[in-house]
């Protein structure tokens, strides 16, 4: 009953101070109150998004590093450290150091960095490098008492002897770790502040789908708040019901288990949400639903529907859709032909018909 009480109290409190005024003026005051709250909420949303935009990028390693991926040069100490974390993970898991080094394409320099990094306090390394490094921390501590060197030193770096190069490298690494730590701290500060903005805005105007979306996104990624997928999904769901395209895509993702694992896979449901978002011009949802139609996943295989979605998007000037149309046309043929308006096969045919 006390729960009911609280609910009723909330409902009654939801009526603004206008209780004390009367008649039409009171109703007008409630309208103005509503507008003021909506405006304030929009202002909080703007502030929160700005904070997110200005937050520094996350420097931590969150997954395996692909040494062949385009990006900064591997001589960049930060990238070397990330490679080192990757290397240490695999070696401590029991892989042969040489094979790992070869598979990661590590140079002698990289190996030296990995060797020195291994002597750093594991907690610091873990805190700075994220989840994957936390596991290394445990492993290094497991080995702490043993005399067996955990990581073989590259040739030329004597075990236990602090060469000039090792000292220099360790100074550089400790400075870099400090910079990373600062960046992470600044990022988290920004994200927490942004989350508070979204929350305040949401309290003022609980029907703003954009605020709902960003609140949900923060919960999903754990930005500025403890990660909570269920809560994120509930909020995404509300924004999606209100027709907010990005939220519809997110709900689709949840059913397709893309980045979510809190509900069972249901491609039929995923397709429904992707379709709704794609109709509104959401690019990610478009890619997903087109793929589902082409492969008959969650929906009946239907090339003409996929082609229609792509054509609609291409007509709106979506470059990805145009590209996708060309590829699909090569692969599946006719349904995708009458396509980009730049002379597909049927364009030629109708020309021929006109001539004939």
């Amino acid at each position: 009953m006390s729960n009911e009480d609280a609910k009723r109290a909330v409902l009654i409190r939801a009526q603004p101070a206008a209780l004390f005024k009367s008649g039409a003026t009171a109703l007008a005051a409630r309208g103005r109150d509503l507008l003021r709250k909506k405006e304030e909420a929009a202002e909080w949303l703007r502030k929160g998004l700005e904070l997110r935009d200005t937050a520094p990028a996350d420097p931590r390693v969150t997954g395996p590093i692909n040494p062949y991926a385009p990006g900064p040069q591997k001589t960049d100490l930060r990238v070397q450290l990330q490679t080192a974390v990757n290397y240490l993970t695999q070696v401590l898991a029991g892989s042969a150091p040489d094979a790992v080094a070869a598979s990661l394409g590590m140079t002698r320099d990289d190996l030296e960095v990995a060797h020195v990094a291994h002597f750093f306090v594991p907690e610091t390394l873990a805190a700075v490098m994220g989840n994957s490094a936390a596991r290394i921390g445990e492993r290094v501590e497991d080995h702490a008492g043993s005399t067996v060197p955990v990581i073989p030193s590259p040739a030329g770096m004597g075990d236990g002897v602090l060469s000039q190069k090792t000292v220099e490298l360790s100074v550089q690494i400790s400075l870099e770790l400090e910079r990373i730590e600062q960046q992470v701290g600044k990022r988290e500060e920004n994200l927490e502040e942004a989350f508070r903005c979204f929350e305040t805005g949401h309290e003022l105007d609980s029907w703003n789908p954009e605020l709902l979306y960003w609140l949900a996104e923060s919960y999903r990624r754990g930005d500025g708040v403890f990660q909570n997928e269920e809560k994120a999904l509930a909020l995404f769901r509300r924004a999606a019901d209100m027709g907010y395209a990005s939220a519809q895509t997110a709900v689709g993702d949840a059913y397709a288990q893309c980045g979510f694992s809190c509900i069972p896979e249901d491609f039929k449901e995923a397709a429904r949400w992707y379709q709704a978002a794609a109709e509104q011009g959401d690019e990610e949802a478009l890619c997903m639903i087109v793929d589902m139609y082409q492969r008959g996943k969650g929906v009946k295989q239907n090339h003409s529907e996929a082609a229609r979605l792509l054509r609609d998007a291409a007509a709106r000037g979506n470059e990805n859709a145009k590209h996708n149309l060309r590829l699909s046309s090569e692969r599946y043929g006719p349904p995708y032909d009458r396509c980009d308006g730049e002379g597909g096969r049927s364009g030629l045919r109708s020309d021929a018909e006109a001539l004939g």
């Binding site: 409902l11 009367s22 103005r32 507008l35």
Partner: protein, 260 residues
């Protein structure tokens, strides 16, 4: 001969001429301000009607559901507090209903033609009570002015014309008992008009800071930016109604389950 043509004005006559000029300026100003005030009043009444019809009725519905929930809770809990909350919520709902379906909600949109505006301006110019010569004249002018204001609010051009005719056909007051008396009259008129101008100013400020005027200003600004605020508000209140209604229905269902 020349002495008959060149007639020096006495100091009193000079003063009178100056004051008459001043009066003419004030009278023109007064007409403008009266028309502006009448426009503002009519616009506000019209907007209030629109707001009550479009959003107010939804608030009334919301209050009704809230009252239903409170009454439901009062029945279930059977405490004095709950009963008090329920009767308060019911009173609020009734008040909202009366406001949203009362006279104010019936006001039509106000968009006077330029012809009507000009006609009204003529009426104000002719019959403003502050330009009355004596008390009897003032009484007549007061009555006609009130009628004119009402007719303008209704956008009733025929009535305005009738008022104008009625006044011009009424006997004009006799003027002039020499410059001294004229000066006295002009001075009194100046004072009256100044006072009325201050009153108008105060009323305009009061009207412009009223809830409904602030709301209207926001709606108009948003409209200039291509947004329909009233529609957005309708959606918001409707959302809240849906929430409260489903809450009420789930409570009813729960009680139904318990009884079975």
């Amino acid at each position: 001969m020349s002495s008959e043509i060149v007639r020096h004005l006495s100091p009193e006559e000079q003063e009178l001429a100056k004051k008459r000029q001043e009066l003419a300026i004030l009278q023109a100003e007064l007409t403008d301000r009266e028309v502006l005030l009448a426009n503002l009043r009519a616009e506000l009444v019209a907007f209030e009607g629109r707001y009550l019809r479009e959003v107010g009725v939804l608030y009334a519905e919301l209050d009704d559901w809230n009252a239903k929930i409170a009454e439901f809770a009062a029945k279930a809990e059977d405490t004095d507090d709950a009963r008090a909350a329920a009767s308060e919520a019911r009173a609020q709902a009734e008040e909202s209903y009366a406001a949203a379906h009362g006279e104010a909600a019936k006001a039509e949109d106000f968009s006077p033609s330029s012809e009507l505006k000009k006609l009204f301006k003529d009426v104000v110019n002719q019959i403003h009570p502050d330009r009355a010569a004596d008390d009897a004249d003032r009484a007549l002018r007061n009555r006609l002015m009130a009628e004119a204001n009402a007719a303008y609010k209704r956008q009733d051009a025929a009535a305005l014309r009738r008022i104008l005719e009625e006044y011009t056909s009424s006997p004009e007051s006799v003027k002039g008992d020499g410059p001294r008396a004229d000066l006295q009259r002009v001075l009194r008129e100046i004072e009256r008009i100044s006072r009325r101008l201050t009153e108008i100013e105060a009323e305009v400020v009061g009207l412009k800071s009223s809830e409904i005027a602030l709301l209207m200003a926001k709606v108009q600004t948003a409209k200039a930016k291509g947004r329909d605020l009233l529609a957005e508000m309708r959606r918001d209140v409707q959302n809240r109604i849906d929430l409260v209604r489903s809450e009420f229905e789930s409570r009813c269902a729960k009680v139904g389950d318990n009884e079975q």
